[in-house]
């Protein structure tokens, strides 16, 4: 079985980074599109455009990482699923590992250039 078959987030492609922002935003509760954009901008400083946001939501929904809730005022709030939680947890672990390795190597790199 190819790795792509095991990883539902494999199809995110170039939307991997905005997808992570959206998943983080949905981690503490369901939100609709506009609230996701506002939240992402507040905690990351990155402004997601509406086209990007819905491209990401469509992919996340297809991958089963988020799910829509019943319509409220013409808008679907979205909720992160259990596999979405797993995916974002795995991503954050990878980033933590990257952070740890990067920090441990950074002083040595500085010494080499000194």
């Amino acid at each position: 079985v190819a790795p792509r078959d095991r990883d539902p987030s494999a199809e995110l492609g170039r939307f991997a980074e905005p997808a992570m922002l959206v998943l983080v935003s949905l981690s503490d509760g369901p939100r609709h599109g506009y609230a996701i954009m506002a939240d992402v901008e507040a905690f990351s400083g990155s402004a997601l455009g509406p086209g990007t946001l819905y491209a990401v939501l469509a992919r996340l929904e297809r991958a089963g990482l988020v799910e829509p809730l019943p319509v409220e005022d013409r808008r679907h709030p979205y909720r992160i699923t259990a596999s979405g939680h797993e995916a974002i947890a795995a991503q954050l672990s990878q980033m933590e590992e990257l952070l740890r390795v990067g920090r441990s190597r950074l002083p040595r790199a500085g010494q080499q250039h000194a």
Partner: protein, 250 residues
């Protein structure tokens, strides 16, 4: 309907029909709330392009493994139609739903649209270049003026530099001075005795003969065809000849 709403509805039409049915209303609601006007246009166009490209990908994605399948919303499961073919590695291919198209059909249309656009651009550019003046059309006659007029606009014409007359899409060449310039001589010729053919650069006494010479002959062409073509060429040459030198010679 306000201008922004009209614009947003227009942009939404760039998305695939299936995508519009699913996300269209909420995207419009979001755009109305955002009131961003034109700023979101590039982002929405990118999103539309992505939606066309990835629209059928969902149905072709590998089936999710057991534990994950339970988390996929019922809506997504219902959206997957009966598989047309299944492969050993689990990829499920489905026929496009009504109003949707396959990735192959989309790529074909995209390619067709690209070729059409390129052809149109080329044709428009060519006509635009050849069409000297909208009112007069192709083959129009232009009076550029005398040598004195040209020198008043561009004094380097006397030293052999070509003079570009944009309305006619033509260059005028002071041939005697240009020949000297090509040899590295610094000359200034302001009196031209004979008219100059803008097309071939030859003087009036010789241009017709020059135009009949081998430039337009090709191997295997019959003598009659050459004669017809040379006549046509020469005629055209005469028609577009209202160069500065012609006027100056009078």
């Amino acid at each position: 309907m306000s201008g922004d709403r009209r614009l947003h509805r227009l942009l939404l039409r760039a998305y695939p029909p299936g995508w519009r049915r699913r996300y269209g209303a909420e995207l419009l609601a979001l755009l109305a709330e955002r009131r961003s006007g034109w700023r979101d246009v590039p982002d929405l166009l990118r999103g539309a392009f992505d939606a066309w490209l990835s629209g059928r990908v969902a149905a072709r994605q590998p089936a999710l493994p057991g534990p994950l399948l339970a988390t996929v919303p019922a809506r997504s499961v219902a959206a997957v139609s009966l598989p047309v073919s299944s492969r050993a590695h689990g990829i499920v291919a489905t026929a496009p739903s009504p109003g949707e198209m396959s990735r192959r059909a989309f790529m074909r249309r995209l390619l067709g649209a690209g070729v059409t656009l390129l052809t149109l651009e080329f044709a428009t550019g060519t006509i635009n270049f050849l069409w000297p003046q909208i009112r007069q059309g192709l083959g129009a006659k232009f009076r550029v003026g005398t040598v004195k007029d040209v020198l008043a606009v561009d004094a380097r014409f006397a030293n052999g530099w070509p003079y570009a007359y944009n309305p006619a899409r033509a260059f005028l060449v002071n041939v005697p001075a240009a020949k000297e310039l090509a040899l590295g001589q610094d000359v200034s010729i302001t009196e031209l005795a004979a008219p100059t053919c803008w097309r071939c650069g030859a003087s009036a006494r010789t241009w017709a003969a020059w135009c009949r010479r081998p430039a337009i002959r090709s191997p295997g062409t019959s003598a009659a065809a050459i004669a017809a073509r040379t006549t046509s060429w020469a005629r055209r040459c005469m028609r577009v000849r209202p160069s500065v030198a012609w006027t100056a010679s009078r």
